[in-house]
């Protein structure tokens, strides 16, 4: 069985209504149950050349406690996948496992059919929170240039192509005017854009974004959406973790619902069902019947 690229995305799902900003609620989404084809596949042994990321029976844990168990998943190349789940559901762990930053308890991961780490530049990753020293003497340009280091190689200096790639990445995120500022002087939104620019400068064909919308301003949110659309046209596979249902609905092809393990995967019609949402979000979600629809509200968690 071969996974197919899901290319009509949400253009096929018209009956969505999204209302926001109810008090202490991050999103309210009305649901309809309908059928649809999905590019994200939970069957084993189905990976092919079109599979960007393949996980087979993957379990990961920290200090004895499993954080993610038995994840089997195929992600089609070029897909935009939202990874949804409450805080602590294992979204970040999933990304770190794909990046090869955590040892696997069991199972294996293939990136374009190869074990992670075989080729350094394939997967770019923007963690939820960069654990950096804000007084570190580097400019925004220096930070974005770090994205090129995997391509430049040992003992060599950056060339013209690297500098151009860095300029382009900064331009796409509208931070070119900040290029020579120390990284510590940026606002949190600008910093998020700088780290995203660093990931773009890697020119990887798979991009993992962990909660990029948390605590950012409107210009940054717009910049991220523009970049996501641009990446889509260029066939880059994007995985984006969020706990926010609206964001997941409006800009992604498929949704992956996790809470310790994969609860459901597929397009919105398939996965936004009351019983699935309850399994994922537990008491953090409120489901309200409203005519032929069900309204879903998740608690607003902004760590």
């Amino acid at each position: 069985m071969t996974a197919k690229i899901w290319n009509h995305g949400f253009h096929g799902c018209h009956r969505w209504e999204i209302k926001t900003s109810v008090q202490s609620v991050s999103s309210v989404v009305s649901l309809l149950v309908a059928a649809g084809g999905c590019a994200t596949n939970l069957n084993t042994h189905s990976h092919s050349e079109h599979t960007a990321v393949h996980l087979d029976g993957v379990s990961v844990g920290y200090n004895g406690k499993p954080a993610l168990w038995d994840v089997t998943l195929d992600i089609a190349s070029g897909l935009r996948l939202a990874v949804l789940g409450p805080n602590g559901a294992g979204k970040s762990t999933l990304f770190k496992a794909i990046m090869g930053l955590l040892p696997l308890r069991s199972g294996h991961i293939l990136i374009h059919g190869e074990p992670p780490g075989r080729r350094a530049v394939q997967v770019a990753y923007v963690p939820q929170r960069e654990d950096i020293d804000l007084r570190f003497p580097v400019s925004v340009r220096d930070v974005v240039m770090m994205g090129r280091y995997g391509r430049i190689g040992w003992f060599r200096r950056s060339g013209r192509a690297d500098r151009l790639a860095v300029e382009r990445a900064m331009e796409r995120l509208d931070i070119l005017h900040l290029a020579d500022k120390p990284i510590g002087e940026l606002s949190s939104g600008q910093m998020q854009r700088a780290f995203l620019a660093r990931a773009l400068a890697q020119e990887a064909d798979i991009l993992l974004l962990d909660e990029p919308f948390t605590g950012v301003d409107a210009p940054t949110e717009n910049a991220i959406y523009i970049v996501l659309d641009d990446l889509k046209t260029r066939g880059i596979t994007v995985l984006l973790a969020t706990h926010d249902l609206d964001k997941a609905l409006s800009h992604f092809d498929d949704l992956l619902l996790v809470n310790g393990t994969v609860v459901a995967c597929g397009c919105a019609e398939d996965v936004f069902k009351p019983e699935i949402l309850r399994r994922v979000f537990g008491s953090q979600i409120t489901l309200m019947p409203s005519g032929d629809r069900i309204m879903a509200a998740t608690d607003g968690h902004h760590p």
């Binding site: 090869g100 930053l101 950096i132 020293d133 003497p137 220096d142 770090m146 995997g150 040992w154 003992f155």
Partner: protein, 283 residues
């Protein structure tokens, strides 16, 4: 005035002292930038003290003190790296244990020797005026090695120091870079022992780099400014010790401290004076 500046260097030992202390001043300051940025100041101090048993053993068996110190420093550096990486104990605890144990062992060994007092003083506080031609050659040789590592691995050390997680996603050997950086610091400490001794080596690593961090906004500039501060304080220290007839190592370190305080007060951006002025303007 010119006579005042040149007079000390009519002696050959003062010429050697000048070359050695400016070289070591620059080298320590450059390596010190990573020590400051990675929060390794305590490690640098510990390394300097932990070298003592190596020096003592070399001294007792009539071997080369420099080689003894070098071997010991690398053993200790790898030991600390291993203990803390396994997560058995916190890094500062691991350093504290090895540091004090090694220092005690060193003092114990040296105290068994006849010329205990003078030798211990030289090892603890340095003896830059006693630098031999051979010492100078060793300093130049190992200094060049350390500088080569810093220049050739500039990108890799920069990214490792700034964002180790990102370095790992680029599949850089983060563990290897970590050990290499500790070893670079260890070799630098050994090279600086002759000048300022075990007790003050950490100051030469940390103080010029800390002063430079107040004055600059990019790593390469920070390294150059730190090197300049290291060289300047070595020269000032030599003059002070020559004319005031006081300890050379202590004079050099105190010159660093004074330059740091000046940077803290008069720094153009973050200096206390600049902040005071900015505060008044805001009001």
């Amino acid at each position: 005035m010119l006579d005042f500046l040149l007079a000390p260097f009519s002696y050959a030992f003062m010429q050697r002292a000048l070359i050695a202390s400016t070289l070591v001043g620059a080298l320590c300051a450059i390596v010190g930038c990573y020590v400051v940025l990675r929060g390794m100041a305590f490690l640098g101090d510990a390394l300097a003290h932990a070298i003592l048993p190596g020096v003592a053993i070399a001294f007792l068996v009539g071997g080369d003190l420099f080689i003894g110190a070098l071997i010991m420093s690398i053993v200790v550096a790898v030991g600390i790296g291993y203990l803390s990486q396994r997560g058995r104990v916190r890094e500062d605890t691991a350093i504290g244990i090895i540091f004090s144990g090694a220092l005690a062992l060193g003092v114990l060994l040296i105290s068994s020797a006849q010329s205990y007092q003078t030798d211990l003083t030289h090892i603890l506080f340095g003896n830059v005026l006693g630098v031999s031609d051979r010492d100078l050659l060793l300093t130049i040789g190992f200094g060049a090695l350390v500088l080569a590592a810093i220049v050739l691995l500039y990108k890799e050390f920069l990214i490792f120091a700034f964002d180790p997680t990102f370095a790992a996603t680029l599949k850089l050997p983060v563990g290897g870079l970590r050990y290499l950086l500790i070893i670079v610091v260890a070799v630098t400490v050994v090279v600086s022992l002759q000048m300022v001794g075990v007790g003050l080596a950490a100051a030469m690593l940390v103080t010029p780099a800390a002063a430079a961090s107040l004055l600059t906004r990019r790593l390469s500039h920070m390294m150059l400014v730190a090197a300049a501060i290291g060289v300047l304080s070595s020269m000032i220290g030599l003059y002070v010790s020559y004319y005031a007839r006081v300890s050379t190592g202590a004079s050099i370190v105190l010159s660093c401290t004074v330059l740091f305080v000046l940077a803290l007060i008069f720094g153009p951006r973050d200096g206390l004076l600049a902040r005071y002025r900015a505060g008044r303007r805001a009001r």
